[in-house]
């Protein structure tokens, strides 16, 4: 102990605070744990009353998520023994696997569009942020506000003309169209966040480089970029998470080829309504990467959600 301090909470206070916070955390975590658990339940366990916390885990949900199945006659089933482990799981319900489901494609779309738009927005954002941070750009404050305000626009409000525009340019339901759109939406976040990160790099480094005979461009990518690497990485993760989670544009502007996972997962249906174990399995696979990224990002989370205003 470094001596008595009036601002240090007492041990009792710490205990009570700790218990309350942990209780809240566990309650708040429950729906997420329930998603993961439901993914490993059989359909009957998933809708059991009372809700089952202890159950026999099965991969039925995941098999249903990735395959399309059809019901077969007992004769057919008797003649054709199951060939794979997933076929065997499906046999319990007198079904056979006839092919893959669309989930894989949709997941891949999410990856392509997410990474494509992240790369573009971070690339363009870094350049713009550097300029805003280091140079006198005319109307700087107005431009920065304009950039931020584009982020604030309600997606549905701009969706009407974008829908018309994409239709006439042949961009609707294409990867290129969605990448472009998400890049534009993420760009504002990228510029604001990266400007904050670049502002923190002392100008002396670049000045030294310039005196050493570097050109402005060389100073930018040999001195500033490596210094801003952490900032760029966390900005990229924020952009990726946004593009990954986005739903409004995706549901309005894509229907097939370029549809991402968020509009797709709720449409996974089984017999008589949503196939909850399959939905939960799809959601688990879709949400887990974001959870991992959130844990990686925890030091920069605050910056990301406040456009770099609060740095802690």
């Amino acid at each position: 102990m470094s001596g008595f301090s009036v601002t240090e909470p007492s041990r009792g206070q710490k205990w009570i605070a700790g218990i309350l916070v942990v209780t809240y955390a566990l309650v708040t975590l429950l729906p997420l744990l329930w998603i993961i658990a439901t993914g490993f339940k059989s359909p009957s366990d998933a809708i059991a009353y009372p809700p089952k916390a202890v159950f026999e885990p099965t991969l039925e949900g995941y098999v249903n998520l990735f395959t399309t199945r059809t019901r077969q006659t007992p004769d057919y089933l008797a003649e054709n023994p199951p060939e794979t482990w997933y076929d065997e799981i499906v046999r319990k319900y007198d079904m056979v696997v006839v092919g893959p489901s669309r989930y894989g494609e949709r997941f891949l779309n999410s990856i392509i569009i997410g990474f494509g738009s992240t790369f573009l927005s971070v690339f363009l954002g870094t350049l713009a942020a550097y300029a805003f941070s280091r140079y006198k750009v005319p109307l700087k404050d107005d431009l920065l506000f304009f950039i931020l305000s584009t982020r604030m626009m309600p997606p549905i409000a701009v969706a009407i003309p974008i829908f018309l525009m994409f239709r006439s340019l042949g961009l609707s339901d294409t990867h290129a169209g969605m990448i472009l759109l998400y890049t534009a939406v993420n760009l504002s976040l990228a510029v604001w966040l990266l400007k904050g990160f670049i502002d923190e790099i002392p100008r002396e480094y670049e000045e030294a480089a310039l005196i050493d005979g570097y050109t402005r461009f060389q100073a930018f990518y040999k001195v500033v970029l490596p210094q801003a690497a952490t900032g760029i990485a966390s900005t990229a993760i924020f952009c990726l998470i946004f593009a990954w989670n986005e739903y409004a544009f995706a549901v309005l502007l894509t229907s097939g080829t370029a549809q991402t996972a968020p509009p797709f997962i709720p449409t996974i249906i089984g017999v008589g309504g949503q196939d909850w174990p399959a939905v939960a399995a799809g959601a688990t696979l879709f949400l887990l990467p974001v959870m991992v990224f959130t844990i990686l990002l925890r030091k920069h989370l605050l910056r990301g959600i406040t456009f770099g205003a609060v740095r802690k």
Binding site: K14, P31, P50, P51, L127, M152, V158, I160, P262
Partner: protein, 315 residues
């Protein structure tokens, strides 16, 4: 300014070398760096916006392209602003906004205050609490409809367990009186950590010395809380409230997946209502005017938000 040092460096060297050092002029570089961003935003945001404004004065309908498009002046605006059904969706939005902000500020601030007691492992638990906020609202919202199922849903079961009511006796998303609260609950679950994180930053920005001085003046803990803690956190709280306010005003994904606006139109928030007009009834001109009204509202709030942002930045 850095310019002076760099210029001195450039001027001190022979002209040819100087040009090489400076390369392009600062102004040109700045423009090359900024232009792609501005261009993309103009193309994907401002151009569509101007198009929306133009459409909002017409009776254009996407699904009837042959129909002659007529200029109708301010009639679309007039009709929207005197329509009591749209007024009702605004009120539904207001209910959603008010209660989500109320609960999120209350719980978020309380949590931040507790975490700031610096108990062992508070970092780990903060990270766990933050998780829901980063997840896809549509996917999570869809799964909540499962938790809300009468009888088999975990939420109903938990409520039944705590109150003794029959878990199949109520349906959070099926009943007119409960549906508005079902969306408030999920949004609060999702976004309380946001308010908490910002409040925590506010609490941590207060220097210990202020409390020490107050302690010397024999101010009670209660008084310290109201005269030091609250005023110092207030700018941060304002920021959080404004941001959540803007986000929830245009709320779409979570609620669409949860209730889809139903039952009836009890949870039909403005964005959902707008989506119906634009992409189900295809009244493009009318919906454009509607979109402009929402846009101006958000833009107004966003300007206040940026002002609040700069205020916090100065701290």
């Amino acid at each position: 300014m850095s310019g002076t040092v760099m210029e001195r460096a450039a001027n001190a060297t022979p002209p040819k070398l100087a040009r090489q050092i400076k390369g392009l002029s600062d102004k040109t570089i700045a423009w090359i760096f900024v232009a792609p961003t501005i261009f993309l935003l103009l193309a994907v945001n401002i151009f569509p916006l101007i198009w929306t404004i133009r459409l909002s004065f017409t009776n254009f309908r996407v699904n009837r392209a042959n129909l002659e498009t007529k200029f109708v002046g301010l009639r679309n605006y007039e009709r929207i602003l005197t329509d009591s059904d749209i007024w009702l969706t605004m009120q539904a939005t207001a209910h959603f906004l008010f209660w989500t902000l109320f609960f999120q500020v209350l719980i978020g601030f309380a949590l931040a205050w507790l975490i700031n007691r610096k108990f062992k492992g508070n970092d780990l638990w903060t990270t766990i609490i933050v998780l829901p906020m980063m997840l896809s609202p549509a996917v999570v919202g869809n799964f909540w409809t499962f938790l809300y199922q009468p009888q088999i849903g975990l939420f109903n079961y938990a409520i039944a367990f705590l109150t003794g009511a029959d878990p199949s006796s109520f349906s959070m998303i099926g009943e007119v009186s409960l549906a508005p609260w079902s969306i408030v609950i999920v949004d609060t679950w999702m976004w309380t950590p946001f308010v908490m994180l910002i409040c925590l930053a506010g609490l941590r920005s207060i220097p210990d010395s202020i409390y020490e001085a107050a302690e010397c003046d024999r101010a009670s803990k209660w008084r310290q809380f109201w005269t030091i803690t609250v005023p110092m956190v207030l700018p941060f709280l304002m920021l959080a409230v404004l941001f959540r306010g803007i986000e929830n005003f245009k709320m779409f994904d979570l609620v669409v997946q949860l209730t889809g606006g139903g039952p009836g139109s009890t949870t039909e928030l403005t964005s959902i209502n707008l989506k119906r007009e634009a992409f189900e009834k295809w009244r493009t001109g009318y919906a454009s005017a509607y979109a402009i009204i929402l846009f101006v509202t958000v833009f107004g709030l966003a300007s206040i938000y940026v002002k609040a942002l700069n205020k916090v930045k100065e701290r």
